[in-house]
Symmetry: D3
């Protein structure tokens, strides 16, 4: 009985410390990350009860991921442990301008990519829940995972839940054509869409002069009630400006931007999704956008993909409290 | 026989490495810190002979603190080791904008908070010294420590020493009312006061349009000869601008500010006090303010609370030598 | 709805790495530990559903403990977060013969020591459970915690649960007289007692030539159904021989001993308790003793107080599989 | 133009530090290892010129492996970089009695497993060389790698090189039946065989009362000139006794055993192979066996799979110099 | 048979981690560095075949340096191992504004400083090569090393190679007078000179209003065909702007500057030299200057003195690709 | 005014962590050590007031050593800081049987080796002291240091102090002939000699069947009152048995031996000297020998060369308290 169910893959992330290149590393820091898991943790930090549905191998790596899921306060009961498939990995090299951070994915043939329709009893998983969240990354893993993603969306809609979908196009996983075709079949079942203008254009050919135009076009085409996107500057690696923009009820909203000293930018968009859902669960889109921008900005200050911040900290950012130490 | 005696508490500081949150930490870095000890170390680095009077538990933690006091070149002979009381601790989470650094104090019931009048033979401790320095933090620990702080100030004045007092109001330790009442009884015995306008207002209701007005009012009310304060910007965590302002002989002085890449901002104010005292011991307030600003700025570049810099480095900052590597 | 409830305190453990003395440490490794929590984790590893009842401060340290409790697979719903009291700490120096490992406790005034009767709604906590486990350490923390320990035992008996109690006398917490007096009032409510001959003698004056005599005398005096104890050699720090002895149904049982290369001996006795309870829940004392000895031995190979081993590994030890790498 | 060519796979090895379980690790130490590469490094340390033929992905992980190959003094010119296939990984948990060390392989679909006949121009690779070495692990990776292993053996024999083959049966890679069938086709082309009695029995049904009987039977069946095997005790993880036994020219040889304090036992057998080949290249089997036992024992004292020891150190062990520090 | 030969010293570099002062360090990070070796590694990364000629002690430190040279892809065959002389060391303290980074050299009496004419058979070393590179640091080590530097330059010119020389005046090694005198004898043999206006003035009294004037004057005096210099801002430690300026064929060229988040600025100039030589080997000075600026900027983002970047990364900087993560 | 003065050199010790070979190290642990400093620290731990006379370079490395001297509780006032000479270094590789630990000294041309007679005002240094201690290592550094060692011994005898001398022959520093010749001139001024039978034979040709015979012969030849030596087994690296033997007043004494799990064996003999001097200062040779053996054994359990143990711990070993954790 959880308020929110998210569905997706998590991987073990391995990062050379102190800006080392992978080829010179003698040790790697171990974190875990996965878009929908990151969002789940963010929602727990904002006070919600959340479970994460996924598939992991029955191995010490699978147990590592599950242990950290629990550590993050997310219920692990809907993790299916499998005897087939491996644990997805990714290697991160942290950059510094003018060198971008680099990611080497090693996720092929993961347990989650081998998921098949019927493996999750969605009625049970979604029982009593209000919200279902997933993303285009999960759909991208394999034909099976795309099918199960759609299966989950349909079950959620059938069960009366609100659904949100983070488009998150990953060029390393599939082509724009394939992604566009597969995701177009899911869009009509997503009440809330998180998508940048670029992805809307790349995948669906939906363009426009402004975010508002693109968002409106997406709503018209797919029936979304809400479209939102994070904003950032990204001209440096160690510093950024983070905010958000959204379209809801025919109106455009935009948050202030926050200057961020960047400890770790991964998971920023997923944290934004958590703030957004948090507000929408209270029926307040503007609040969701604001909380999303603030928790997204705060995520940039936390090591790892998970937004390990408190609701108090989010509200301190919203209140503009500044960075003086309180003592 | 030391030129300078400082009196206060030191704690063991425990910091998660690499911007980790405390809850995710698997190891903690160990430093020590305490306002008057930090100042003592700064004075040693500037060439003075200094002892630090304090109380520590007879335990491995107490020995850890004492070992580092000696490492810092400060004489440990006036540390009283007690069989009661614990070693004060504090946990530091290093922030990144827009998240402030956070401090969790765990200092209650420390050996130092259990100090009582008569435990220090001030005549012996102060014999041959020229200067006595303490702060409002020490006074805040307990009724006993407030009494001993005052005892020390009175003995210093009776012995002909110059006294300095860093107001340092800590809202986590006591209320403005209690602090104002207790500290008001000590102010008349402080020749040199280090205090921000905010603390003067909060504790004593002494306000004004400018630093000069506040400082003048404090001198008039309590008889200080000198009032000084550090200045900083504090809009980011990893970068700051650091300077100082002072009031002496009816005149206001202000230093240039220095752009600091911040390794560790804790102890910056205590380092400033060291520079200030250094100049005043030579009878030169302007020099003290300048050295205070420079060593305070340099402290921001040093890991830990102790200002482990050299006099040469302070003078290089004053000379504007810049950051090119000399080779 | 958990099969087993354990009740006690957990502390943050801070250990200098690589056999350093505390006074030379520049970093400390962070683990958590607490007798009944350790046992809870052991039971989870053996396949049971377990919740741990305790009290922690609402602080980043309290959250650290709770996060690791969840990571260990133990349900955290019966942790009461308090605004008073601190988080208990202990500092461990790892020894090497002829130097014993040393522990510096800093647990006074912990949130758990401030627990008071009525704070736990035992009917709810114990609903649906079969087993309740606690220890003499919990009873030793304060008058309040002793009262709540007894409260829990009585509620468990009233609810039809089996109860187990690990005597665990801690000379640093209370005198033999006080411990004997307080614990004597709890013994009649403990179905299963874990106790060494030494503690039985020290606390209750119950002696004998053999373990069997002592155990029999305890059963006669207090009505226990079962008494068991771990066995070890302890003549070196890095190597030990670990086994167990028990008395049940008028019979004495003894396990083989296992040669252990010791990574971390803390929590070995608590892991033993987990194995013992595991067997007894299946109604098989001999199995419990055997599993207890094996998981206790394995615990010595795991860093930290928690027995992070698998049931397969326990059974491999019982089967004498040896230490060749399987590949 | 290298004296020796070895052929096989290398993987990146990831190990939690300080006996941590993988599931509790927050960092992993990075080494590389692969049977024939380990042997190649051992031969370099004994003064030979060696190249290693293999296949690696064109990625930062592949470059990491190649950089360490060069660091080890082995020529990297016969590494084929591929755009397909991943970099093999394995995760090592270091044990302590009674818990064995554990290895989790994640090597499926590696670049090397996708090797196909014709990818190596063996005439070029082997030009000017005297010795070719490979093992049953390489043959086990895939049908393609088995075919290329045989291709290499045949080319070596055709080119007049001596060939050595380390049987190294890996139950996690293939069944005894499949291994027996595939390897039986290679045995006739192996002049020197390294094999335990157990593997000879499991794969080829060749048994006997003593090593001599088994070795003799293997020579009769497959035409080997020489059979050798390492010996160890393996009743503890941190300590072992290491030696070797061999059959050559109808005679059995046995070395003394060396008491080893074990830093890292992986690669011990591969180091033995290096010592053996070193002696045989000088036409002295007894020397080879002795050097093999000594460098094998020394390997146990070196972190990582590679035998980073010097010829002087090997000869000090053979001379029984003991462990007093020379100063 | 290498395309390029560089000649110089490499030292072991020891750096306290995390901005610690040397006096507080409990561990030191180990890198290696040396101007001409750094340039050699840069050239390898850009696709060239390079060997580095040098002299190292036959010790574990000498072997450490050689192992890393090989790791960097540079051929180690022209390293002469000596029984005399030590391994040069340097200790680096990483600064933060307003504190400059500091270097403590401990390189006296190194094996390389004891080099003597005749120790290198230059005809063999340079056989088949197109380019020879060395610097004023090598010339500064001792009379012997100055003589061998000149010997190498003369042999290179006699062999028809192009020569480049990085002036690199080091005030800690010799006086301007001595440096000017010794280096003036080498300048006529340097086709390509890398030199700042400051060094030209200090050593040779060659001044001018602009870089062009100075470069032109140097060419006229010494017969260089090309003069180039890196450009940077250096007002902060953690951030810089990096570019380059050059004079060739009577024309002045200037590159754009790149904003760098500085991980490690050491070796930036040596990386620049690599890019410059890369372009000149293709006969394209403008390309060399551009590649030099880009690889020099990228070097600032890499830990250690060696420019461990790829040609792709250099070209991404030249193409202005920005720092968004590609996924 | 110190009870004891020791005189000698200290070096910075750099050790690869976790049994790494130096050539594979990416970081080095930093300790300091020096025979007479180690002894000084041992004496401080046993309750004495001690100063250490030495010479260090005025550099960050010299300051590092001085800071640690103070940390160890030893007075640093007789350290002469010089502008010439470097800081001695040594690199330690920790072994494992059958590989011995290895030491690479890099101490030539140290500030201490450049000491000259007259640099220490021995009258001032020794004023008020009872004991002077030095060793054959100090005498071995250079002609100057030999002269100053003798100068110190003569001044001590003239001042009525007791003198002790640890023979400590270092074959890497000088030949037996030179050592024998130089040290023979100092022996008559050493009241207490610490020497193994081997060194007595090697340096002075003094042999015998037993320790007693050798000691007696040394006393007869040089006039020592007391001769003592540590005993150990040294057949493994990680385990040893440590004791002591002595000759005093015509009698032979021998202590029990202690089984040691070895964390770090360096400085064991110097700790023994501290225990010995401690007893002799109380006029009790047997006590000195016993304390020497116990603190020497305990030193093996402490990281670094300094015997960071407490008097309580020494007495616990003497009382045979064993290694059970007290709690």
């Amino acid at each position: 009985m959880h308020e929110i169910i998210t569905f997706g893959e998590a991987m073990v992330r391995l990062t050379p410390p102190h800006f080392q290149r992978l080829e010179q590393a003698r040790s790697l820091d171990v974190e875990i990350g996965g878009a929908e898991l990151n969002t789940a943790v963010g929602l727990v930090r904002l006070g919600h009860s959340v479970a994460w549905a996924s598939r992991l191998p029955e191995s010490s790596l699978g147990r590592l991921v599950a242990a950290r899921v629990r550590e993050g306060g997310v219920d692990d009961r809907w993790i299916r442990f499998s005897s087939d498939g491996r644990c997805g990995l990714y290697f991160l090299e942290v950059g510094a301008a003018p060198r971008a951070s680099g990611i080497l994915y090693d996720r092929k043939d993961s347990a989650m990519s081998r998921v098949e329709p019927g493996m999750f009893d969605w009625t049970k998983v979604l029982a009593g829940a209000k919200w279902f969240h997933t993303s285009g990354i999960t759909a991208a893993l394999s034909t099976g995972s795309a099918a199960v993603t759609k299966e989950g969306l349909l079950a959620a809609k059938a069960g009366g839940l609100t659904t949100s979908f983070d488009l998150n196009y990953r060029a390393k996983l599939w082509s724009p054509e394939e992604a566009g075709r597969v995701l177009a079949g899911m869009m009509p079942h997503a009440d809330v869409l998180i998508a940048s203008e670029g992805d809307a254009k790349t995948l669906f050919g939906v363009g426009g002069e402004t975010f508002a135009e693109v968002a409106k076009a997406m709503c018209e085409r797919f029936g979304h009630r809400t479209v939102a996107a994070g904003r950032r500057d990204a001209s440096l690696v160690w510093k950024d400006r983070v905010g958000a923009v959204g379209y809801h009820g025919g109106e455009v909203f935009e948050t202030p931007t926050y200057e961020c000293e960047v400890v770790d930018r991964l998971g920023g968009g997923d944290a934004f999704a958590a703030g957004l859902i948090h507000g929408l669960l209270e029926g307040d889109f503007a609040k969701g956008l604001a909380y999303g921008a603030a928790i997204g900005a705060l995520k940039h200050t936390v090591l790892g993909d998970l937004p390990l911040v408190s609701k108090d900290e989010v509200e301190a950012v919203l209140a503009g409290q500044g960075v003086r130490i309180r003592r």
